[in-house]
Amino acid sequence: MVKVHFRDTEIERPGKITIRELIKDLGLNPQSVLAVREGKLVSNETRLGEDGEIKLISVISGG
């Protein structure tokens, strides 16, 4: 399982999918989030391993 951090939550998802697929599975728009793994930006086309950890960062700011 892959540990996904998003905002203040942490969830687990099956791996072996691309980050783009993960973002869509979570009901998010690939335009509005970026993925960071071990402190490094990774492209949405990156395929996740069976397990691991990934942080999704919302890029929409408002006001």
Partner: protein
């Protein structure tokens, strides 16, 4: 589909920008952002290499990235942080200020960070100026905007900067444009521009060098440049219409990449052709107290708002 290769080298890309058909690795992305910013500054004649500019920094990804980009490009760019005094149970302004100060610590010694603390300067910060019972977020944000505008102008004028530089990105601009177009608000459409020329009576030139980048690109720049920025939004931005507009535009963008870029760029081209003639700025006069331009005789809106006699009233 595997990870795209960087267009400039063979490394794995960290970002893919379908609207430009461009995927880049971290170092080539940084290079691309900085070069594109320089081109955009030149194209819109924002400022010249010898100018001194004042970057309005909030602690967020856009303004800190902008400051870093301008310094990397060799511009003389100082920062201005306005402490709005917004707490809302999450110490928002205090934490934002910490990010700004932390960022500024690692800059060359000749780069300055100016900090204005509204509460110490005027006895009241944004929430108090907006009035406790004043109708919620809308009033607060309009007071906040008014205060920021006035104070940026005042400080830029007093310290002799050539331009105020803000971190607005293309998504910000497209969202504003979307709202203005939905209402066909011609007065606002006429004035929406990445460059607002300066004017007499203490109105500084205001420019937006990042207005050509998508929000995810400014965030990506901050991440690959290891800029530590406040990820949380101002608590009062929750439910703002601008965020809903951004979401609408992003869902269109997901289906057809380039939608946002085209929407904004076509507007800039149309604007150049003066499709909205006859909407000139109203006549302005100096405020009796601070001297800054105002549309109404007497005190400007800021001076009326911060009038000490009105403290505690309303």
């Amino acid at each position: 589909m595997g990870v795209h290769r960087c267009r400039k080298c063979a490394a794995d890309s960290v970002i893919n920008m379908p609207q430009h058909r461009l995927a880049l690795c971290a170092s080539h992305f940084v290079e691309w952002v900085e070069k594109s910013t320089l081109d955009f500054i030149g194209k819109h004649r924002m400022f010249e290499p010898q100018d001194r500019v004042l970057v309005a920094v909030s602690g967020g990804k856009d303004s800190l990235s902008l400051w870093r980009i301008l310094l990397n490009l060799g511009f003389h760019a100082d920062g201005l942080y306005i402490d709005l005094g917004i707490d809302a149970g999450c110490a928002y302004s205090k934490r934002s200020g910490d990010y700004v100060r932390n960022f500024a610590q690692n800059l060359a010694p000749d780069v300055r960070l100016h900090i204005l603390d509204l509460a110490s300067a005027y006895g009241r910060a944004v929430p108090e100026l907006a009035g406790r019972r004043a109708g919620g977020r809308k009033k607060l944000c309009s007071v906040c905007g008014l205060v920021k505008r006035h104070e940026m102008n005042r400080i830029a004028h007093e310290l002799g900067y050539d331009a105020i530089v803000t971190g607005h990105n293309l998504d910000d601009e497209a969202a504003v444009l979307f709202g203005n177009t939905l209402r066909w608000d011609v007065e606002y459409l006429v004035r929406q521009s990445p460059v607002l020329p300066g004017a007499a009576l203490g109105l500084a030139k205001r420019v937006k060098p990042l207005a050509r980048f998508y929000e995810r690109e400014t965030a990506a720049y901050a991440i690959v440049s290891n800029i530590d920025y406040i990820e949380d939004e101002c608590p009062f931005s929750k439910g703002a219409t601008s965020i809903r507009y951004k979401e609408v535009l992003n869902s269109m963008e997901a289906g057809s990449p380039g939608t946002k870029l085209q929407f904004y760029y076509s507007f800039l081209r149309a604007r150049k052709k003066e499709i909205f003639p006859g909407y000139d700025r109203p006549d302005l006069q100096p405020c009796e107290k601070c001297g800054q331009a105002t549309g109404i005789p007497g005190l400007c809106a800021f001076c009326r708002l911060t009038d000490p006699e009105k403290a505690g009233g309303q």
